[in-house]
Amino acid sequence: MMKWMKLAIRNILRNKRRSLVTLLAIGVGFAAISLFYGYVDFMYYGLRESAVRGEGLGHLTIYKAGWLEKGKLDPERYMFSKMEIDKIIKLVQEEDEVILATPQIQITGIVTNGTVSTIFIAQGVVPREDKTIKSAWGAFRPIKGEGLEEKKPYGVEMAQDLAKYLNLKAGKDGVVMAPTLSGQMNAMDIQVSGVYDSGSDATNDKYMRFSFDFAQSLLDTRSAERIVVLLKGWKKTEEMRTILQKKLTQAGIACEIKTWNELSLFYSKVRGMFDMIFMFIFSIVLVIVVMSTVNTMGMAVLERTREIGTLRALGLKRRGISLLFAMEGGLLGLFGSLIGVVLHATVWAIIRAVSPTYTPPGVSTPVPLIVNFVPQTLFVLVLCLILLSLLAAIIPARRAARQNVVNALGHV
């Protein structure tokens, strides 16, 4: 095999300019795919962290059975009671994979500074546990002022555009109004502890965060809408859902468990869009690689017709001729991919050194442009392009092998 490999390499080097163009086409295509994949990989990481930690969805959210369908119509019936909350948290936290389980409530209502009023959407969270969920995300989107504290139950966090609209900042007072679960209007004083950036233009003028106890008081209840579960790693999300669903059902708790990606509509839609763009770029590169290889190998077959005739006359079988040209195609794929790996590493290093930022549509602040270096993907991509080039070379290779020996020998 090595002797044919050697012959294939020398044949590639025979027409250096043409081979170089083909190798560059494959290399640039490779780098385009791998860099975009690296970017998308980071995007998915960012969106995942944003959903799990930024939005505070955790990895799993446990709802009472029927909440998602009818909970808004009859919330009291479909919320977890205090006893159920304690029982669920105890059962869930028995699992090694679980970091914490914490109750949450969502409230919608009106907030006012005494002069101006507007609507709000607030999450009621346990401050200490919410900090654990936020983790490093807190540093990414820091709060101006202070965060929620157990010892300051009336303290709230307010999204920056909402605070701007109401002319409120850390330390200022306001009033929130919302219907209790029994349908009566309730109003409570608040003090803005801190102002934060929700990360999205669409939510920055509506979002607030209350402590869980405050939210329960506003709704006049001791129940919780959901229990959010934070796991040690996102990869075990599905596995843990199955385990917890079984465990809670066995404990007599009728519930349904949603994963973070099911609840984060934004993640699903963005992922769908990027998957589509990735496939589009991949298809274009695929066409370029196939066309370049077919063209190069087709020219090689034409130029080396007489040589093919000679090899056949010397006894090389059709299969041998096919193999030789397919090998040349595969080697073009290999060398092109290696050029692509070098290009990828170079661009990746430049991006890391320059650290550029950009502001995506709908996002309130610039985000860093980061391309992840994913060695497994590079390896799979190398194999993919070798296979693709090899397959692309099969058409001209078969044409070469099928040539009539006499005609091939007479080719000028």
Binding site: N11, L311, L314, K317
Partner: protein, 228 residues
């Protein structure tokens, strides 16, 4: 048993819709160890006849057997094996692989056969040495003269120890002196190794040294077809 046996061989070519008869009923027997020249005017069918004997083409009609094997009954793979094991080719334009050195070119038929690299190298070096090319083993074809290239081609044709060597106009691209030396070399190999040589030529110098001449005219043997 004759090495080559041809009976009532016809070969037609299609030129558009016109059928052009290249060979019209050839009967020919060639034994092992013969040194045979096929000669005749241009278009008489010399190359077509050699192509058939070399098993790189098929007759339209008739029977052709090489070393006891009926060519028409062989699959393409079997024919490739027959060529590799039994037949050596020397082409008018040398047909060396330009990206390979003289040594690698000569090793090629053995490597196609599946011989090990070591064995191929030893045999190829021996043949190149016999043909006086020891100094040129690592030279690529474009760095060698026409005569040297043709000697490499002869070494390549002989490296598998074939029963038959087919040469199509082997001296056509060579100057007189080189042509004379190539002819002498072929003759010497024929006598020493009892390898059958069949070649086409116009070259009178070559014809003078041949025991058996087969003359073709208009696709028919007009002289030398019978067994010698």
């Amino acid at each position: 048993m004759a090495l080559i046996e041809m009976e009532s061989i016809k070969k037609d070519y299609l030129l558009g819709e016109t059928v052009v008869p290249a060979l019209q009923g050839i009967d020919l027997q060639i034994d092992k160890g013969e040194f045979v020249a096929i000669w005749g005017p241009s278009g008489s069918g010399k190359t077509t006849l050699l192509n058939l004997i070399g098993a790189i083409d098929e007759p339209s009609e008739g029977s052709l057997s090489i070393a006891g094997r009926e060519v028409r009954l062989l699959s393409d793979n079997r024919r490739s094996e027959l060529r590799n094991e039994t037949i050596g080719f020397i082409f008018q334009g040398f047909n060396l692989i330009p990206v390979l050195s003289a040594l690698e070119n000569v090793m090629l038929p053995l490597q196609i056969k599946g011989a090990s690299s070591g064995e191929s190298k030893t045999k190829a070096l021996t043949r190149l040495e016999e043909l006086g090319l020891s100094e040129f083993v690592h030279h690529r074809p474009f760095k060698m003269s026409g005569g040297q290239q043709q000697r490499v081609a002869i070494a390549r044709a002989l490296v598998t120890d074939p029963s038959l060597v087919i040469a199509d106009e082997p001296t056509a691209n060579l100057d007189s002196e080189t042509a004379r030396r190539i002819i002498a070399l072929m003759r010497q190999l024929n006598e020493k190794e009892r390898t059958t040589f069949i070649f086409s030529t116009h070259d009178q110098r070559l014809l003078d040294q041949v025991k058996r001449l087969v003359r073709l005219e208009d696709g028919r043997i007009v002289d030398g077809g019978g067994k010698q």
